[in-house]
Symmetry: C2
Subunit: 469 residues, 2 copies
């Protein structure tokens, strides 16, 4: 309660934590621009927005993302008595406390598991529910270019139906977003988990090595065909099986999705695989008249890392970007993992940071104003009068900063013209102007200055910055 | 990577954690409405928006909020090797690990300390910086009505000046927000930390009991004058001193702020106290022409819990609400605690949850639409055609949901008319309509139905929901 003395240590780091970022006004404006476009497109597709808590029970989070995911979860230390009990107990038993004893809650790892929890929890949601959600998630991963420990996902999911209309609508919405943001060359890679599994079976890889094979295929773009072959054989898969699988993946024709599906249809003989091929044919057909059509590419090497997918899977590829702008798929088993009823679902997650990196590199942002319009400078007038004139301008819709301290006019104008401040005008208020109900309005670019009424100043400023009166 | 089997435990709780909430679409819309109003008003006052990470180093967070604050911080468990080392070390030394060993990072506790860190970190911010920030914060407090463990603060702060223009602008902005949201009866309580300290000195309370006295005064509204007196005397303050302090607090005249300040001026004799009174006089004068003027009330009992305030302090009081909608004050020492230069600052934090509670109880929200406009129902037409017609309506600005599965038309229309879905129209697409480039548009309220072109449907739907073509 008392004013604390500065602490003895003389240098607390003021940088954000590794893998996390401060967003200054230009960053916030760019992020808001992208999210506004996504929100407005998704709304047109009938998605309604929700938000879920940052913290979830570890019971909810664990076992949904695979072993790597479980390891990358941020866990929250138990508090006070609960922590004390755990530490005392372990100490009494002469052993270190376990991670599970130390933490019962974790930070949100994606937006899909919270959605599944929400669908299981609330009985009065629409049967076919389209939900969107734009929130940060946390993963204790090694930070890298475009890879952060705190990053935003922008998700759209349809729950309650196995109809491929849901997939088509999700892919249409995502493609419309990318087009609206200004992306022209992008591909929507599409595969099907059951087709992948059937391909693995058709290569005579034993069932117990299926997920080993999936993990290897998922690395195709990073380590190439030879790398995948090495990984497969080093994990106990025969060279013959590895070659069979890689042939399927590599040798699909380039001509069209139909030709690629025909190629697979000739080689995949089991029932589940053929149903998956039929699904993909139907999905391509359903997208014939939406924004996804031109971008769709059936791609057997697409595997997606997360463990909960059960049907079609998707990923966005853009030229010159390692990694993707987002991905998704069908996950019909996840809601049922919360122990109530089964609810089929399909969704897509756009990675805000990846989109921003590409848009910044390619200069794709529109002009985004983050500065006030005018700096109100004053000379020998009362504080209350400065406040009054500022208020009058604001009532007209002008964004007004006031120079807060007594200073020479030249100093005030220099400050107003500095690039950090970024205003286009200075408005000068002296006793003369005040008595006349006017300001001296100075255009900082041209240096032009004239005495005008508050109403005229409002009009001129709004015309210059391009906002309506 | 493989599809996980449902876990053996058959009931994971699907409720959000205690003190945290899922926000469904209506909640998100209400929250967004309030934040949009705050953002637009603050922007008119020249504030620029930033965001900071959810996690901060505990070095940054500890020692800024008082002992209670330090206890309420959420701490994040160290990971992998770092955790292992800590546990092994403690075990080897035959003692439990300490909290400081187990966690080096914590969740954001407010938005003011992160701002101070940002101001210390970035050299090229404007000298007088007005920043706004709207983000959640976390406190491991006991949950209660309107008190959550995850809640949002909406902050506006001015850094770089000791001028009371900054206080006046912050109070003007806050008052404009409340008025714009529809609040009519609210008070802006104003006090000054130095005036409080001088009052405590004038009651002959020894310096070492100053923060004890402040903590007691802070509870005035909760426990009343007698409660404060009891607490003061039980902490070693004489009955005479307690009575002197309470007299100052209780007996200020009700007539006007000027009269209240005169009353204090007659009784507070030391220099710092008189400077504080002069500050408050100047602040009242500076607010004479802004939205704060009618709401300002000088109130000596206002103490504010946080330890970092150094000058004027503020709080919003509304009738019938225990606790406040927000508060703030001047904190000239906080940036300097990060070990570089001193930067004076003043700010205000609006509590989003408190505002929402009052607005909900008083029915202060405008109509906020969260549903799509129309449900596209179909009969015996191709999936691709449904998608095509949905896309055509969306291009015109209509928010379209599609019924995703084959079903009898009656069932589709019943679903469209259900309150969870909330659309005003159904558009029916059969082969006839498709051939004619039309839909049968049904108004679900009146039951009226007619065949119209896509363009006419677009026009009628937008007119009904009140969005421009």
């Amino acid at each position: 309660m008392n004013n604390p003395a500065p602490r003895a240590r003389d240098r607390i780091s003021t940088k954000p934590l590794s893998g996390m970022r401060d967003f200054l006004p230009v960053d916030v404006a760019r992020r808001a621009h992208v999210i506004d476009v996504i929100r407005s497109v998704y709304r047109a597709y009938g998605f309604a927005e929700i938000e879920t808590p940052t913290l979830e029970s570890l019971d909810t989070l664990l076992g949904k993302y695979g072993d790597e995911g479980d390891q990358l979860l941020y866990r929250v230390l138990r508090r006070r008595d609960a922590l004390r009990r755990v530490l005392d107990q372990a100490h009494a038993e002469d052993r270190p406390p376990t991670e599970a004893e130390l933490a019962g809650e974790g930070l949100r790892y994606d937006l899909t598991v919270p959605l599944a929890r929400v669908v299981a929890q609330y009985g009065d949601l629409p049967r076919f529910w389209k939900r969107m959600q734009f929130q940060p998630v946390w993963r204790a991963d090694r930070p890298g270019r475009g890879r952060f420990r705190e990053f935003w996902q922008c998700d759209a999911d349809v729950t309650g139906t196995t109809s491929l209309v849901a997939e088509a609508e999700v892919l249409g919405a995502v493609s419309t977003v990318l087009t609206r943001l200004g992306f022209t060359a992008f591909e929507l890679l599409v595969n099907h988990r059951e087709l992948l599994r059937a391909s693995i079976r058709s290569a005579e890889i034993p069932d117990e090595l299926e997920s080993t094979a999936l993990i290897a295929v998922d690395k195709f773009d990073k380590i190439g065909a030879d790398g995948v072959a090495d990984e497969l054989t080093s994990r106990g898969i025969t060279a013959g099986s590895a070659e069979q699988l890689l042939t399927l993946i590599r040798d699909q024709p380039e001509t069209s999705n139909a030709a690629r599906l025909d190629y697979l249809d000739e080689r995949i003989k089991d029932e589940a695989g053929r149903r998956a091929i039929a699904d993909l044919r139907q999905l391509c057909a359903a997208c014939r008249h939406n924004a996804a059509n031109a971008a769709l590419r059936v791609e057997l090497r697409l595997a997606r890392g997360l463990s909960y997918y059960t049907g079609p899977i998707f990923e966005i590829a853009v030229p010159d970007l390692a990694g993707s702008l987002g991905g998704g798929g069908r996950y019909d088993g996840l809601v049922g993992m919360f122990g109530k009823r089964e609810v089929p679902a399909v969704g897509f997650s756009l990675g805000l940071e990846r989109i921003l990196v590409v848009m910044a590199e390619r200069d794709m942002f529109p002009a985004l104003s983050v500065s006030p319009d005018v700096m109100l400078c004053s000379m020998d007038v009362d504080m209350a009068d400065v406040v009054q004139v500022a208020e009058a301008l604001r009532r007209g819709g002008v964004r007004v900063e006031t120079y807060p301290e007594p200073a020479k006019l030249k100093k005030q104008l220099q400050y107003a013209a500095s690039p950090q401040v970024g205003v286009r005008f200075a408005a000068i208020l002296g006793q003369d102007e005040l008595d006349a109900g006017e300001v001296s309005l100075k255009h900082l670019g041209s240096g032009e200055q004239s005495r005008v009424s508050i109403a005229d100043a409002t009009q001129r400023i709004l015309a210059e910055v391009g906002r309506p009166l």
